[in-house]
Symmetry: C2
Subunit: 327 residues, 2 copies
């Protein structure tokens, strides 16, 4: 694909001059402009939309608010946002909050200051007290949904997804199933726990609060917790709320001499790369991560560009069970 | 630690009012201001520096330019930048370029537009043609160094690091060592190849260009290349330029029935989490990722805040060999 450099060479001008032509700068003579336009046509060059828009009234930037980038899940969501943004002439700026609602609110002020045209909040924790005065029309929530912020939304059915994977474990003959999920304050984790409970009860198994282990999404915390659970052998499976948790559970089971999946089955959630490359490969729920990002960006850009016809959208994308070796 | 909410409650005012006091807004009565200041003192509340600075003349934002976030390596570097930035009252905005020097240049324009106070380019590919007119004083290069951009720098000695791990393989008795590295145009990859060559030659082994495999940093491309290398059995080791490449090499060796590490040793590079959790765990070079980010942010913030005394810094941080199961 021809670049700006190729165009400059063909037209016999500098890259800066090509850039000025693309930006409709006044500083270029008509003759030079024509040379550049000819070169563009001859080479079939497609100007970088980002460059063309990166100027005037709009910032042509979208803010993406994430809890962290240290989770491969977000990389795929961001890629979906990014590809869609770029196609439409937008750049994206990412910020991470380490799940502090206060920090999220600080970054969201960039909307008001017109440094970005809008924001996608992807799973970052937010709180009502810090969200006052935000222009909710310019925000789309992705992955996670906080109902007090009345925005468009793109997510999956977290309850149903967790129900499906627990139901799968039960159908495989598992009867004493642990559940490892994240922080209680996170809406999707609340929903997943409900899914776990419903799957057990609809299959005639008892739900016990004590079988719900709360831990972080990495592998180490769950590993330690299971290693110290003297009675892991009385369980035959665990449904985890992330693929890295599943890695921790498999490591703990192995350390305790339990065969995975025969004696102890483990499931993950998200379908990040590690679930495919780990040995045993991990049975998990595939979230359509890329599509979530793509859809969220499409909705936001549509809102930015057609402000007069704001329609709030709530999109629930399908999930998919990926059966592999661990369960 | 007390929050803005606690202060608001104690002072009997809204969170917004506390925020106005912290920002020295004119809209607060003296009486209310005093109530808030008293509550702040009583609770020992430390105002969020980010909030305090997020206003006036400076943006108090640092741009971090990355090729991608889909590489756990960057998550650690960014964490180092972020912690340091936050401690000093700065927010960070990340952008990803997919290694397009043109896109990198577009984002770097945010410096000129004063939307950010400076930038850290962490491994993103840049080219001289797109970097004209950049204020190099406001840029720090991290991880990767492009000499045409005359900035401060924080990195490791990539040549020496690769030398060390190849030397380790030779000392372990390996004689036919492949090398898998990234794109030729990336300075650190050039340096690593030099390290590979030097380690072989200083140990009396022949360097052969054909034993250098070029591939992307993920696991699939190298996996495919090695699977299709009919004669993998004539080699006894491979030194890879990323930990995910090492995963690909291990998978390929296993698929060809080679025992790792006895028949075929594999080393990685970076020391990302997967190198620890993979089975076999992967012998690798630990880059001080967090420290690289920390140091780059410290240098940049120092430059931003003391512009009159600009001193260019070139920091080479130590690396460390991590010997594990794969070699």
């Amino acid at each position: 694909m021809p670049t700006v450099k190729d165009v400059a060479k063909r037209a016999g001008v500098s890259v800066a001059t090509v850039s000025r032509v693309l930006n409709n700068s006044e500083k270029v003579s008509e003759q030079t402009r024509q040379k550049v336009l000819n070169a563009i046509e001859e080479l079939g060059f497609k100007p970088n939309l980002l460059a063309r828009n990166f100027r005037k009234d709009r910032s042509s930037l979208i803010l993406v608010v994430l809890p962290t980038i240290a989770n491969a899940y977000f990389a795929r969501v961001v890629k979906g946002i990014e590809d869609t943004a770029r196609k439409n002439g937008y750049g994206i700026l990412l910020c991470t909050t380490q799940n502090s609602p206060e920090i999220a609110a600080e970054y969201l002020k960039l909307i008001e200051r017109k440094q970005v045209d809008g924001a996608i909040i992807a799973s970052a924790k937010i709180e009502i007290d810090f969200c006052k005065g935000l222009d909710t029309k310019r925000i789309v929530q992705a992955c996670e949904f906080y109902p007090f912020l009345d925005t468009s939304l793109v997510t999956i059915d977290h309850k149903r997804a967790f129900y499906d994977i627990v139901d799968y474990l039960v159908k495989k003959g598992k009867k004493n199933i642990l559940c490892a999920i994240g922080n209680e304050g996170i809406p999707s984790e609340f929903a997943r726990k409900e899914g776990y409970k419903e799957a057990l009860e609809e299959n005639g198994l008892e739900f016990k609060e004590e079988n719900v282990i709360r831990c972080s999404y990495g592998w180490t915390e769950l590993y330690e917790k299971l290693r110290n659970l003297c009675c892991l052998k009385k369980y035959d499976a665990i449904a985890c709320s992330s693929d890295l948790m599943a890695v921790g559970a498999i490591k703990a089971a192995k350390a305790l001499g339990l065969k995975v999946p025969d004696e102890f089955s483990v499931t993950g959630f998200d379908n990040i790369m590690v679930s495919r490359i780990y040995e045993p490969s991990i049975t998990t729920v595939a979230q359509p991560m890329y599509e979530i990002g793509e859809k969220a960006a499409t909705i936001l850009i549509d809102i930015i560009e057609n402000q007069s016809v704001y329609v709030k959208q709530r999109i629930i994308l399908p999930h998919e069970l990926k059966t592999r070796e661990s369960a």
